[in-house]
């Protein structure tokens, strides 16, 4: 929020390049650090782990990139994911008697999860556009609502997927195609699609225009409210996709599911170079941001350099450094 403005065009050229390369530089630095700390770091197993688990936040963060680009914010994604996971599990368990414990049930559950994601996004979106309430407040409110509902549904405990069904569903997280785990495949597809939508479609252009200057967008015959609503629905749907991948990983939902994902997603988006105040978004940057965040956790597990109490501090320092790298050397 601080940056930009001051015109110093001679320097700007350089800064722009750094801005593009920045997240990548930070990523490479982290990979080198990881390699030097542990020789298993680049093993297929570890790389798969890191990427697969970043898929949830990653898929959500792609949606968040759009939301932030239109100048909005969605704080509810983590709770929404918990809520969707909870209801999906309830639905799946309930369907077993009718549809049996096989793929039919799971497919219906998946569709339900997507549909509910769209619905939850619609709720956020309609309150923001028609209700004319700040996105921050709306999604802070729905954050509480979704989180409470999942606790209530779970009666304060945990909602668990039927054990046999879990075995059928498992490969969706743990399986893969051509040696690549499904979550990675789905994340990659979502990211590529997101990047294309952002850069190559009228919708992406409209998002940037609205975030950049809502009035200009309105005067340019853009249905501002409609685009905004669509964006929150897109975010909701992507939370649904993430949840579909998440349920087979842990097979349960509780009050702690998806905790603070919203913060992680927003952080990834900003680290990736999207502007928090809207008007400019970069999906591939978000992907890099997500992987950076995921790598930090992984690297902290690779060594016992510091007291685990200080993990949070190291994370904080690395997040700041990753963004400093983006800005380029100040003096240059």
């Amino acid at each position: 929020m601080a940056v930009e403005a001051r015109e110093q065009p001679a320097r700007r050229r350089l800064r722009v390049d750094f801005h593009v390369l920045g997240p990548l530089v930070a990523l490479v630095a982290l990979v080198i650090l990881g390699m030097s700390l542990n020789d298993q770091f680049l093993s297929a197993g570890n790389v798969t782990n890191v990427l697969a688990r970043s898929a949830f936040i990653g898929i959500i963060a792609v949606g968040a990139t759009f939301v932030i680009t239109i100048g909005g914010l969605d704080l509810s994604v983590g709770s929404m994911s918990a809520f969707l996971a909870g209801v999906t599990i309830i639905i799946l368990n309930a369907l077993i008697p009718q549809l049996g414990g096989g793929w039919a049930t799971i497919l219906v559950g998946m569709l339900a999860c997507l549909a509910m994601g769209l619905g939850a996004g619609f709720l956020n979106g309609i309150l923001i556009t028609k209700g004319r309430i700040e996105a921050f407040i709306v999604t802070l409110g729905t954050l509480g609502i979704f989180r409470s509902l999942v606790v209530w549904l779970a009666n304060g405990g945990t909602l668990s997927l039927d054990f046999n069904l879990r075995e059928v569903y498992r490969p969706v997280y743990y399986g893969g195609v051509a040696g690549i785990a499904w979550p990675i495949v789905v994340f990659a597809l979502v990211a590529v699609a997101g990047e294309i939508v952002m850069r190559k479609t009228a919708y992406g252009r409209h998002c940037a225009a609205i975030g950049s200057n809502e009035q200009v967008a309105r005067y340019s015959a853009i249905h501002v409210d409609r685009v905004r609503l669509a964006t929150y629905m897109l975010q909701g749907m992507l939370v649904g996709v993430a949840t579909i991948m998440y349920v087979p990983r842990l097979g349960s939902a509780s009050s702690t599911t998806g905790l603070l994902w919203e913060l992680e997603a927003i952080a990834a988006v900003i680290i990736g170079g999207t502007v928090l105040k809207g008007g400019f978004g970069r999906v591939w940057g978000t992907v890099v941001g997500v992987v950076i965040l995921s790598l930090i956790d992984n690297i902290l597990n690779l060594t016992d350099l510091v007291s685990p109490y200080l993990n949070g501090a190291i994370q904080g320092v690395i997040i700041i450094l990753a963004v400093v790298l983006q800005r380029g050397r100040k003096g240059a």
């Binding site: 015109e7 065009p9 001679a10 050229r13 294309i196 190559k200 479609t201 009228a202 252009r205 409209h206 940037a208 225009a209 950049s212 200057n213 009035q215 200009v216 967008a217 309105r218 005067y219 340019s220 015959a221 853009i222 249905h223 008007g279 400019f280």
Partner: protein, 506 residues
């Protein structure tokens, strides 16, 4: 104090943005008590030279002298404390702050630790009253009209007690009447020994206020003379580099073609009441009126940009227009008067801005960037847009070129009815001529054009028929030979006898 020695000079000033040099060694002198005008085409480098003089941009070559001594202002603040104040071409106001807060921003009057709000309000009110803009100084700037904003901007500069006052197209958004108020202030400042740098594309104004004139073309000085030695026509020639024929093309006769748009009993709550008018094929219909008459609001209402009531017929059929998109679908397009706030995405490049309104023409599933590029090339040719690069943020374009781009953007949807709100705001005289020719061509081709303009000469020279608005109502209509300044002003003022007195400008 009003000694003859120069106070601020540019000596061989060069300025480059990246690889592009836009000023190639400009010399320029400001003397206390004199008004030195700077004229030139859009993108000639006028604003750039002014920013260099006022410390907003460092020079790339040459030097700035202050009282004969070379100086290097670190930033605008340093220049301002030396008494050099710039009124920007584009608004430079914090929209969410009150007019009073803006006027004293960074130079607040204090009483001890606290703001002396009473004194500031008093002073702000006086300043604005001197500028004949009696607004409530507590109003948020975002709620002011463009001309009121400009007056606040001028008041802000006046409040700073400048020794050198640099004004970048201060009258672009003012009517003749309001400009007169400004000129009176300029006279006063001159008498007080302030050195003034003045630019405008309204060349008759230059003749009116300036003592000397410098002409800039493509970043180089081409002439400098006393104002008596250079007629507006000569200025125009020097600027453009060729002789200019008549500014306005010959008007075709009145048309009796079919009505393409008819508006009945139109109401924009709070702004416009029971407005009715008709627009014919091939017609250029002018809308005149004083500032705040509600012309903009009427058009925005028609375009679905404001909630409004009333009947709109498109070629006889009643249509409902609830959003700008629907308006475009019905063949209407509107060029906003506020290019910075409502017209262009300043951080984006030319291509994105050009196609934003008509983007569906360039997109199936994906946006066809090649087609966009082609459209941009065509627009650059057709509207003579001068940009150092097609990818530069349009915020860095010269003001006039921004306006041309905005016009290109509006025309890209190939509207049958074009509503142009202050279309030549900040446009140089050569380009103005092109735009007028362009409007005529549109009319000849059978499109219908509405022109809202606060430049009386523009309304008179261009339009077949003129509707005059006053306080949100249509006060009258003149057409054909009857389109004269007096007739318009009389209706705009709602007066009869005093009409002649009130006629100025043009």
């Amino acid at each position: 104090m009003s000694g003859p020695g120069p106070i601020l000079e540019a000596r061989g000033v060069r300025k480059s943005f990246g690889p592009v040099e836009v000023l190639h060694g400009a010399d320029f002198t400001l003397t206390p008590g004199r008004v030195h005008a700077l004229v030139g085409e859009n993108g000639a480098g006028k604003s750039t030279l002014m920013k260099c003089l006022a410390g907003y941009q460092p020079v790339s070559g040459g030097e700035i002298r202050f009282f004969g001594e070379p100086v290097h202002f670190a930033d605008s603040e340093a220049a301002e404390s030396a008494g050099i104040v710039l009124i920007h071409q584009e608004f430079n106001l914090a929209e969410q702050l009150s007019a009073e807060a803006n006027i004293f921003l960074g130079r607040e009057m204090r009483r001890g630790f606290f703001l002396d709000r009473k004194a500031m309000r008093e002073r702000a009110r006086n300043l604005l009253e001197e500028l004949a803009t009696p607004i409530d100084t507590r109003l948020e700037v975002s709620r002011l009209s463009v001309s009121q904003k400009q007056m606040v901007e001028i008041a802000k500069a006046l409040a700073r007690n400048a020794r050198v006052l640099i004004m970048d197209e201060p009258t672009a958004v003012l009517t003749g009447r309001e400009a007169e108020v400004l000129f009176a202030q300029i006279e006063r400042l001159k008498a007080a020994g302030v050195a003034i740098l003045y630019t405008s594309h309204k060349l008759d104004e230059i003749a009116r206020v300036a003592d000397e004139v410098t002409v800039l073309r493509d970043g180089s000085l081409v002439a400098h003379a006393g104002v008596d030695e250079m007629s507006p026509d000569r200025m125009a020639e020097l600027m453009v580099g060729r002789e200019l024929s008549d500014l306005f093309p010959a008007k075709a006769g009145e048309t009796a073609a079919d009505v393409v748009l008819s508006v009945e009993d139109f109401e924009v709550p709070g702004h416009v009441e029971s407005a009715s008018f008709k627009l014919r094929r091939g017609e250029i219909l002018g809308f005149a009126g004083l500032v705040g008459a509600g012309r903009t609001e009427l058009m925005e209402g028609i375009m679905g940009l404001r909630s409004a009531r009333g009947t709109i017929r498109r070629s006889g059929k009643v249509v409902r227009i609830a959003s700008p998109k629907e308006a475009v679908r019905h063949g209407l397009a509107y060029l906003t008067e506020d290019r910075k706030g409502r017209g262009l995405l300043l951080k984006y490049g030319l291509r994105e801005n050009l196609t934003l309104l008509g983007l569906d023409r360039f997109s199936g599933i994906f946006v066809d960037e090649k087609a966009e590029e082609a459209a941009l090339d065509a627009a650059i040719r057709r509207f003579d847009i001068r940009a150092a690069s097609k990818t530069m943020p349009v915020g860095n374009l010269s003001g006039g070129n921004q306006q041309k781009l905005l016009l290109a953007k509006t025309m890209l949807v190939e509207p049958e009815i074009v509503i142009l709100d202050e279309p030549t705001r900040g446009i140089d005289i050569g380009t103005k001529q092109q735009i007028y020719a362009f409007v005529h061509q549109l009319a000849r081709e059978g499109q219908a054009v509405i022109v809202i303009s606060s430049e009386m000469s523009e309304v008179i020279g261009l339009c077949h028929r003129v509707i005059v608005m006053r306080s949100g109502r249509i006060a009258g209509e003149v057409s054909g030979e009857a389109v004269t300044e007096e007739a318009i002003v009389r209706r705009a003022m709602g007066l009869d006898g005093e009409a002649r007195e009130a006629a100025h400008g043009s």
